[in-house]
């Protein structure tokens, strides 16, 4: 069992991680705590689970990919 975790852009630099694998978690918030060693969440944190936007209290399952990133600035 494992969950893939990814960080992007300024958040990747702040957290100091680009990706990580954790064993098990029940919500995206728990994924954050485990992957970052409980670093404080920024106010504008964005979460995606399996390439779809999600919430911090969204549930995660074995094999999921959970991504954390700041507000997007493309276009």
């Amino acid at each position: 069992m494992s969950i893939q975790v990814k960080f992007f852009a300024s958040l990747r630099e702040q957290v100091g991680l680009s990706d990580s694998t954790i064993e098990q978690a029940s919500t995206a918030a728990e994924v954050w705590d485990l992957a970052t060693n409980k670093q404080q969440q920024p106010d504008n944190l964005v979460v995606a689970i399996n390439l779809e936007y999600a919430k911090l209290n969204s549930s995660v399952n074995d094999g999921d990919e959970v991504a954390f990133f700041p507000p997007v600035t493309g276009g």
Binding site: F8, A9, A48, L51, V72, T73, G74, G75
Partner: protein
């Protein structure tokens, strides 16, 4: 992405494309080439496009270069979803979205959106909707090289 299905009416076969490119492209040439590939040239009466390009200043600071990071699997999927959703809302015949990633120089095109339709309202409204959706939801991030160092852009302008 090429969508072809025997259930589509021939006139409505779409050849939508969602391109993410590390290489420079000339936006008008890209649009022209996409249009020439299409066999629908005599069917559409309206084309609306938007091109976002890099300015050499932002917040009054000179910007010499930009690095565009993205979440590759999610951006590709999201841009294709946007085109699909646009086609659900408007009678678009063809649609193109292209977005640069990586190192970008001032005056380079960053994003190109083009919508082809029989009449102008659908093309204009879909193009307008697509750029707004992309700006606020597609997982791209800009880092600007300024005289005092590299700075992540914190949020997009409202318009």
């Amino acid at each position: 992405m090429v969508m072809k299905s025997p259930f589509f009416h021939p006139l409505l076969v779409a050849d939508m494309a969602a391109i993410i490119s590390e290489d420079y492209f000339e936006p008008w040439q890209l649009i022209s080439e996409h249009q020439q590939k299409s066999e629908l040239a005599k069917q559409f009466g309206a084309t609306a496009t938007f091109v976002g390009s890099m300015r050499d200043f932002n917040d009054d600071a000179h910007v010499s270069e930009m690095l565009l990071e993205h979440y590759p699997e999610m951006t590709q999927r999201y841009l294709e979803k946007l085109e699909h959703d646009a086609k659900q809302q408007w009678p678009i015949i063809d649609c193109l979205i292209a977005h640069r990633v990586g190192h970008i120089k001032p005056a380079d095109a960053i994003v190109v959106i083009a919508c082809w339709s029989a009449h102008r309202r659908a093309a204009l409204d879909a193009c307008n909707w697509l750029i707004e959706q992309l700006k606020f939801n597609a997982p791209f991030w800009k880092k600007e090289s300024r005289p005092d160092g590299d700075v992540w852009v914190e949020h997009n302008t409202a318009g």
